[in-house]
């Protein structure tokens, strides 16, 4: 039977994958997707712990995380659209206007 540690390890791996994705990819949308992966990994942790502790709190927090993720995705994509109109590119390195 899987133990808590299994789930936690799985979650850790997924989180790391998401991190790598954020860093490595040069496509803004893919970066956002990687963030979603990270969020999901965290969700998994919450549910696992909730199950172990026998409380509903884990699932409720997941509920909130999902809401926030949705909002974040919406706003993030809106920003991407706005940026795309500006430079016609989805490469984050193209957007260096905040450079000193």
């Amino acid at each position: 039977m899987p133990t808590l540690d299994h789930y936690l390890l799985l979650s850790a791996i997924l989180f790391a994958i998401g991190t790598a994705g954020v860093f490595v990819r040069r496509n803004l949308i893919t970066i956002l997707l990687s963030i979603e992966i990270m969020l999901n990994a965290v969700n998994l942790t919450f549910v696992a712990f909730g199950r172990v502790l026998g409380s509903a709190d884990g699932q409720i927090i997941v509920f909130f995380v999902m809401t926030v993720a949705a909002a974040e995705a919406a706003v993030g994509l809106a920003i991407v659209i706005a940026l795309f109109r500006h430079r016609e590119s989805l490469n984050p390195d193209m957007y260096r206007m905040l450079k000193w």
Binding site: T19, V22, F23, P92, Y95, R96, M97, L98, K99, W100
Partner: protein
């Protein structure tokens, strides 16, 4: 009611300071004079009330408001009227009123705003001076003390457009300040010693101790207080401001630098007679400095050519006498001389003012002469003043000066007595030199000789016009001169000593105030000695006048020859022993150099500015460095976030 005495001139000040410039000269002058005359009346009433009390109980104290209450320390704004302050307020208001009236004529050539400014300062001075002498504790006295210093500065530098006047005002204030520093230290020490700064409380506390044998705490306190007195009352070493103060209008010199402000130091010692008599070491110092100053100033006055300078050094010299008196324990005699000196010195100054006014601004004795016939009122009143100061018997100065000399001798300070006698000789000599050079002989001034108008070069008040001959003092001025002359004759009689049949009522009157130790006593037994010494003083005065007659009336050439023979000495005296130059080289320049080179250039510019600018530069520099973090690359930021996370996690895992 006591408050009213000081309040009336203060109100006069307020009026003249605020709306004075729009008032006519008559009105602003009138308000000022009225204020002070009213104050005189109130003072007289107060003194009458005081006299109605029995001698041991002659104290009227009025607490106006409670000023400082801090823990156990308490200092209230309290005014005190006792015999000593009674004498002082009458002198200040009485002679002050005369001088105010005199000023209305003397300053008449000023514009209306300037006229009002002058009178506002003069009233303010009177208010502060009255506060000084009516104060019941050191705090109130100090308010007055500083206030008169301020007014002195304002009045000396009244014609501030003239650089020498502005400088003189500054010099007076700064030198005074040095004295005041000592004074404040003294007061603070006094408080730590006694817990109070109320005069009567201190006197009561001190009375319980025996006089100090060596230089102890009381001596230190009194010495510091005396330092303040040397500043205010122009003694060695802080007298240097007084001759320069002659830049101010002559009535100012008469009031402030003859009759009132400079006497504040003497008054202060008199007020604290009990305290001082418990510190014999300090008293010795006071006496020595007083005598030395008297002699030194006398020698300088002998060769000065500016009429007002002679009188200035004379004032310093006479103040020296007063301090000599205080120093040998004859507190009453010192106050007596203060009182008579106020009369004749004010008279002399006002007389010289009349001369200057008549000559359209001339102040150099070498350009005067033969004015006796043209300015009769001025001449005769001036002569009376000169006789008084020289100590000719019968006039006020004789009694007071003689009392001092007698006490000096009788209390065992024979050396100081000799100094005093020498100074008497010099006093008569230089005084009559002044009289003869100014009023006798051949008229040397163009205005008096050819009776043509001259242009005024020294007196910024403007040239007066002299159609034919010189005009003597106008009524306002003449009135003051005559009253003061009468006073110079008669004022001394209330101090008529026992030896001559009087009962020295002044000293008796003052005794409860001064309550000094038995140093005062023992005079009754010595009437023979007193008479003998009086004889000596008279001889000396006569000798001085005789010498003056010889050198300056009969045989002017002889005077020049003597000056020629002792050219070196003459030069030293003429340059006032180079004291100003010495001070400048020894004190002023080093301070200036330290301030400018050291403090300003090194400390302020390099260190402080350096530190402040350095901080700014450091912050800026760090900003420069840190801004390189803003690469604008989102990935770099993300990378830094993640690396941070890894590091933090790693750190916690490590632990």
């Amino acid at each position: 009611m006591l408050l009213l005495i000081a309040l009336l001139p203060f109100l006069g000040f307020l009026v003249n300071a605020s709306v004075g410039r729009r008032l006519s000269k008559t009105l602003s002058g009138g308000i000022a004079c009225a204020a002070l005359i009213a104050s005189f009346v109130v003072a007289a009433v107060a003194v009458f009330r005081l006299l109605a009390l029995a001698p041991e109980e002659r104290v009227i104290e009025e607490r106006i408001f409670s000023w400082i209450t801090s823990g156990t320390f308490r200092a209230d704004f309290t005014l005190l009227l006792d015999p000593l302050s009674a004498v002082m307020i009458l002198v200040v208001t009485g002679i002050g009123s005369l001088i105010h009236v005199y000023s209305t004529a003397y300053m008449h050539e000023e514009t209306s705003p300037e006229y009002a400014r002058y009178f506002s300062y003069l009233n303010l001075f009177a208010a502060f001076m009255l506060l000084l002498v009516l104060g019941a504790n050191f705090l109130v006295m100090f308010v007055g003390w500083e206030g008169v210093g301020l007014c002195s500065y304002l009045l000396i530098g009244f014609w501030f457009q003239k650089k020498s006047a502005a400088d003189a005002g500054k010099k007076a204030f700064i030198v005074n300040r040095i004295g005041d520093f000592g004074f404040v230290l003294g007061v603070l020490l006094l408080w730590t010693a006694f817990g109070t700064i109320d005069f009567r409380a201190v006197a009561e506390s001190v009375a319980g101790y025996a006089p100090e044998e060596t230089f102890g705490r009381l001596s230190l306190i009194t010495l510091l207080l005396f330092v303040g007195a040397t500043g205010k009352s122009a003694q060695i070493p802080l007298y240097v401001w007084l001759p320069d103060a002659m830049e101010g209008p002559t009535p100012v010199s008469a009031l402030i630098h003859a009759a009132t402000m400079v006497t504040a130091g003497v008054y202060m010692i008199g007020r604290n007679a009990v305290l001082f008599s418990h510190a014999p070491e300090t008293l010795t110092i006071v006496a020595v400095i007083g005598a030395a100053t008297a002699l030194m100033a006398g020698t300088i006055g002998l060769v000065q050519n500016d009429i007002k300078r002679v009188l200035a050094y004379s004032t310093v010299s006479q103040l020296g006498y007063m301090f000599l008196a205080m120093g040998v324990g004859a507190f009453g005699a010192g106050i007596f001389h203060l009182y008579t000196h106020a009369f004749f010195k004010a008279l002399l100054f006002l007389g010289s003012g009349a001369v200057i006014h008549a000559l359209g601004g001339e102040q150099d004795l070498r350009r005067m002469g033969g004015l006796k016939s043209q300015l009769p009122i001025t001449y005769w009143t001036f002569l009376i003043g000169a006789l008084a100061i020289a100590g000719v018997p019968g006039l006020a100065g004789f009694f007071s000066k003689d009392e001092i000399l007698f006490r000096t001798f009788a209390n065992g300070h024979q050396v100081l007595w000799i100094v005093g006698i020498l100074t008497s000789l010099l006093t008569a000599l230089y005084m009559f030199r002044l009289v003869f050079l100014a009023f006798h002989g051949v008229p040397r001034h163009p205005a008096s000789a050819t009776q043509h108008p001259t242009d005024a070069t020294q007196h910024p008040a403007g040239a007066a016009e002299h159609p034919a001959g010189l005009h003597d003092a106008p009524p306002a001025m003449a009135l003051a001169l005559v009253v003061l002359a009468v006073g110079s004759i008669l004022a001394g009689y209330i101090g008529l000593p026992h030896a001559l049949g009087g009962s020295n009522r002044l000293e008796q009157f003052l005794a409860p105030s001064l309550e000094a130790h038995a140093a005062e006593g023992g005079h009754a037994a010595n009437e023979g000695l007193e008479l003998a010494l009086m004889g000596v003083s008279t001889l000396v005065a006569a000798a001085g006048i005789g010498l003056a007659v010889f050198f300056f009336l009969r045989n002017r050439a002889a005077a020049d020859q003597v000056a020629h023979r002792f050219a070196g000495v003459h030069r030293v005296l003429e340059n006032k022993y180079y004291v100003d130059e010495i001070y400048d080289a020894a004190i002023v320049q080093p301070i200036r150099i330290v301030s400018e080179e050291g403090l300003w250039k090194r400390l302020d510019v390099r260190v402080i500015d350096g530190a402040v600018n350095g901080v700014a530069e450091t912050v800026g520099g760090m900003g420069e460095l840190l801004r390189r973090l803003q690469t604008g690359s989102v990935r770099a930021y993300a990378a830094s976030v993640f690396v941070g996370v890894v590091c933090i996690l790693g750190y916690y895992l490590w632990r």
